[in-house]
């Protein structure tokens, strides 16, 4: 059995925090068996509250202060069921106690949110959890962009580039940009996508997609979207 496998929320603990003893005698009493797993005490003396300031100041993160750490968000989370290290309650906890090290250590999973809003819907204290997590993810992107999985980064950048440039979303163009950012342009002509592409060429949808156009005087809007002075 894996070390500490009986611990609830095992995914939140590092291996070296768990002490397992074959035979444990405390104060002369043999407590071997069920009671032989202990956690090391952690002392946290350096609080780094930059992330908290940043998140609560953001239009999408301002509800973070309502959190009572009940865990309803995580109980219903779509992603937590697939990736146990994805734990919205704990991300919020780490932000509020200033555990920048733990946030950075787990940055690669925070961007895996699927945006299903079960957490926000479950929250009894009106935390918009899905967007608070998004906000924490955005802060982490400024801290450790290199920790973002290449496919997630390509997705993030392709969407932004397409939306800012054209103001409308052409899905084939988006997919092409996404794949080329990953050096996977060949897949565009692979068997999976070729069939759909030929069908869309024949039935006229490809033309409609090419002619999607831009909104009127888009340059002004584009400026607003890309203006880095606007938080």
């Amino acid at each position: 059995m894996a070390k500490g496998s009986g611990i609830i929320e095992r995914s939140l603990l590092e291996d070296d925090q768990i002490m397992e003893e074959e035979n444990l005698v405390m104060d002369g009493i043999d407590i071997s068996g069920r009671w032989n797993t202990m956690l090391k005490t952690r002392v946290h003396s350096q609080r780094d509250l930059d992330s908290w300031d940043e998140v609560r100041a953001s239009a999408i993160g301002e509800s973070i202060d309502n959190c009572i750490q009940c865990g309803m968000c995580t109980a219903g989370c779509t992603v937590a069921q697939e990736i146990p290290a994805f734990n919205p309650r704990q991300f919020i906890y780490w932000v509020r106690v200033g555990r920048k090290d733990d946030l950075i250590k787990n940055a690669d999973v925070i961007w895996r949110c699927v945006g299903c809003y079960i957490c926000t819907n479950h929250c009894p204290k009106e935390v918009n959890t899905a967007e608070v997590i998004e906000s924490i993810g955005q802060w982490l992107r400024t801290q450790v962009p290199e920790k973002m999985d290449p496919a997630y980064r390509a997705n993030h950048e392709a969407y932004r580039h397409q939306l800012e440039t054209y103001g409308r979303l052409s899905l084939p163009r988006l997919q092409a940009e996404f794949l080329s950012k990953l050096g996977r342009q060949k897949e565009l002509f692979g068997p999976d996508l070729r069939q759909a592409a030929v069908k869309m060429l024949k039935d006229g949808r490809a033309i409609k997609t090419l002619l999607i156009g831009r909104p009127r005087h888009w340059n002004r809007s584009r400026f607003v979207l890309t203006d880095s002075a606007r938080a």
């Binding site: 953001s58 239009a59 999408i60 993160g61 779509t78 992603v79 697939e82 990736i83 895996r112 949110c113 699927v114 945006g115 299903c116 809003y117 079960i118 926000t120 819907n121 009106e126 918009n128 899905a130 967007e131 998004e134 906000s135 993810g137 955005q138 992107r141 496919a151 997630y152 390509a154 997705n155 993030h156 392709a158 969407y159 932004r160 939306l163 103001g167 409308r168 979303l169 052409s170 899905l171 084939p172 988006l174 997919q175 996404f178 759909a196 869309m200 039935d203 949808r205 409609k208 997609t209 999607i212 909104p215 005087h217 002004r220 809007s221 400026f223 607003v224 979207l225 606007r230 938080a231």
Partner: protein, 302 residues
């Protein structure tokens, strides 16, 4: 009845099936749809991390709506519905966020949001405003014998505070039932299943094939093993994973994920007596056209 309508990028292009079927049934029901002019993308759920700027694209569309003299807009695409609802909710709450939204519109030379917009979902609009009795009266080809599994996904009923389906129409945010009711009114056999509101992972459709394949596989196989002939959905992003890329789900969980998928509006169109070609049923990639042709050709099962 004049109704403002926001189709969005996807429905204007590759998901024309959803747009056309919405328009066809609206016409049958005596609704005159007026498109929001000079639309832009809604943000597609991908700009949330930008903070207040995530409201800009939806706000631009809502400002155009108000400028056209309308305050209520009907939206078929669940992603657009979510984005526009989310911004309408921010407008309603007011305060600094609203001031910032208006400032962005001003900087972009766009009209400001001068009135409170209301965003309605086509499904809840059909059930709540048009009414099931009216819809039932238009049924020419009852879907008798067709086993339909409704699939709502996420953004039609979540988060409850922001969406008209719950706030205006009184939909149940945990167990939505309007699509069930609608399919029953068309004469279909409604197949209840446990994945009606589970997420398809659509946001990570490109970036995480494993998770999105697993989540879509679970939905399709749950519906199929519950006895469904067809999954009825209401979101083009869900359709991406459940229909167009169904082969991924099948690769992940096996043939139990092979199931025809259609927009619920297409099923209404069939029941209203339209041909599958009119409703672009052939655009679906999961064998839906064969299913419907078979259904229409075999009166015995009706």
């Amino acid at each position: 009845m004049k109704t403002a309508y926001f189709p969005g990028c996807s429905l204007k292009t590759i998901d024309r099936a959803y747009d056309v079927s919405t328009r066809v049934i609206a016409e049958d029901l005596g609704m005159t749809l007026v498109d929001v002019e000079d639309y832009s993308c809604c943000g597609a759920g991908e700009l949330k991390g930008e903070g207040i700027k995530s409201h800009f694209l939806p706000a631009r569309n809502l400002a155009h709506l108000i400028n056209q003299g309308e305050t209520e807009v009907m939206v078929s695409c669940n992603v657009c519905y979510h984005e526009l609802s989310r911004t309408a909710y921010a407008v309603q709450k007011g305060g600094k966020n609203l001031e910032d939204i208006q400032a962005m519109l001003k900087d972009a030379d766009e009209p400001l949001i001068k009135e409170q917009p209301t965003v309605r979902n086509t499904l809840e609009y059909l059930v709540n405003v048009v009414g099931l009795d009216t819809i039932a009266k238009h049924v020419k080809v009852p879907l008798t014998g067709l086993r339909v599994a409704p699939y709502y996904g996420c953004l039609y009923q979540r988060p409850a505070k922001m969406v008209s389906s719950v706030q205006i129409a009184g939909e149940d945010t945990e167990h939505p039932h309007f699509m069930h009711d609608l399919m029953a009114a068309l004469g279909a056999t409604v197949v209840e299943h446990r994945a009606e509101t589970t997420c398809c992972g659509g946001k990570n459709l490109l970036s995480d094939e494993r998770i999105s394949g697993k989540l879509t596989g679970r939905i399709l196989s749950t519906a199929k093993t519950s006895g469904a002939d067809v999954l009825a959905l209401m979101c083009p992003k869900c359709a991406g994973g459940l229909d167009a890329l169904q082969f991924r789900a099948v690769g992940m969980v096996g043939d139990t994920a092979k199931l025809p998928v259609m927009y619920y509006t297409q099923l209404i169109g069939i029941a209203f007596g339209h041909r599958p070609e009119e409703l672009h049923v052939g655009d679906m990639e999961s064998g839906s056209l064969d299913l419907i042709r078979h259904f229409l050709a075999e009166p015995a099962i009706r």
